[in-house]
């Protein structure tokens, strides 16, 4: 269950908000570097630094086309993160499903008490 505490795994790579933003952008499709620079509103060296980290952990792949460099998402390394958080997320999902039932009851009671109930 425990994971390696290195600074170069996918877990740490996605801990940085800007890098998650890059992954979100790449999730829509392959993009050239200058496009990422423009959309992120960051300086080119900063973007390149983030891309290097993402490349090192295999989260992005790179391709050169003439003088342009294209990046694309490689979701594979994200799977362990997804699996790792999955059980935790599932527990909260189930918990909230029961909370939904409790809330429906409270809403009905509220209505019975003569309060407004805009929903439904």
């Amino acid at each position: 269950m425990a994971r390696a505490a290195t600074t170069t795994d996918a877990f740490n790579a996605v801990a940085e908000p800007r890098r998650r933003q890059i992954l979100d952008l790449l999730a829509e499709g392959e993009r050239p570097v200058n496009d990422l620079v423009e959309r992120l509103g960051l300086a080119q060296p900063q973007v390149s630094k983030h891309l290097r980290v993402l490349r090192e952990v295999g989260l992005v792949d790179v391709r050169d086309e003439g003088r342009r460099r294209f990046y694309r998402l490689n979701g594979e390394p994200l799977k362990p993160i997804h699996d790792w958080v999955g059980a935790f997320e599932q527990a909260w999902t189930e918990r909230f499903e029961v909370l939904d039932v409790v809330l429906e009851e409270l809403k009905r009671k509220d209505k019975g008490d003569g309060h407004d109930d805009e929903q439904r």
Binding site: M1, A2, R3, A5, F11, N12, V14, A15, P17, I81, W84, V85, A87, F88, E89, Q90, A91, W92, T93, E94, R95, F96, E97, V98, L99, D100, V101, V102, L103, E104, L106, K107, D110, E118, Q119
Partner: protein
């Protein structure tokens, strides 16, 4: 967006966990369900067990403690903490300690925002150390506990 949906869990930083979900109810009711002992008892264990104890002293500096009994395995897990900030129906900040990992105290911030009668709930869990955050995700929840109990049972069987 429908009211029944998945909880969305993200890790904004290496010490944080963010849990988000939308409910088809006004924030007053969500807050009520979140802070009233008889109601907490009904939903907090989800579908994995039964809440055996809920203590809520809802004032700044007041304590809370929840204990649940996992449906299979017959073991109890307890959580407790202290309320730090209370804005009724909107924001509740409290500490949280999973009693199986007493050194890892987290700060939980519950935020409720209502729009058109629907309420967006978010819980930001902040740990002091990444390993505590990771431990919280792995073993602080019944899910992880359940899996480790199942694994333990397998081991016990193989020994028998």
């Amino acid at each position: 967006m429908t009211s029944s949906g998945k909880a969305v869990v993200t890790l904004p930083t290496d010490k944080q966990i963010l849990i988000e979900r939308e409910f088809d109810a006004p924030k007053e009711l969500v807050y009520k369900a979140y802070t009233t002992p008889e109601l907490i008892k009904r939903w907090w264990a989800g579908k994995r067990g039964e809440v055996t104890l809920v203590e809520v002293d809802l004032r700044v500096g007041g304590g809370w403690r929840y204990v649940m009994n996992a449906s299979s395995g017959g073991f109890e897990v307890g959580f407790h903490g202290e309320y730090r900030e209370i804005v009724a129906n909107e924001r509740l900040v409290s500490t949280e300690v999973y009693e199986g990992m007493p050194d890892a105290e987290a700060l939980d911030t519950l935020t409720l925002t209502e729009e058109d009668g629907r309420t967006k709930l978010s819980i930001l869990v902040e740990h002091e150390k990444q390993e505590h955050r990771d431990g919280h995700i792995e073993s602080g929840m019944e899910g992880g506990m359940q899996e480790s109990m199942d694994a333990l049972e397998e081991v016990a069987k193989s020994l028998g």
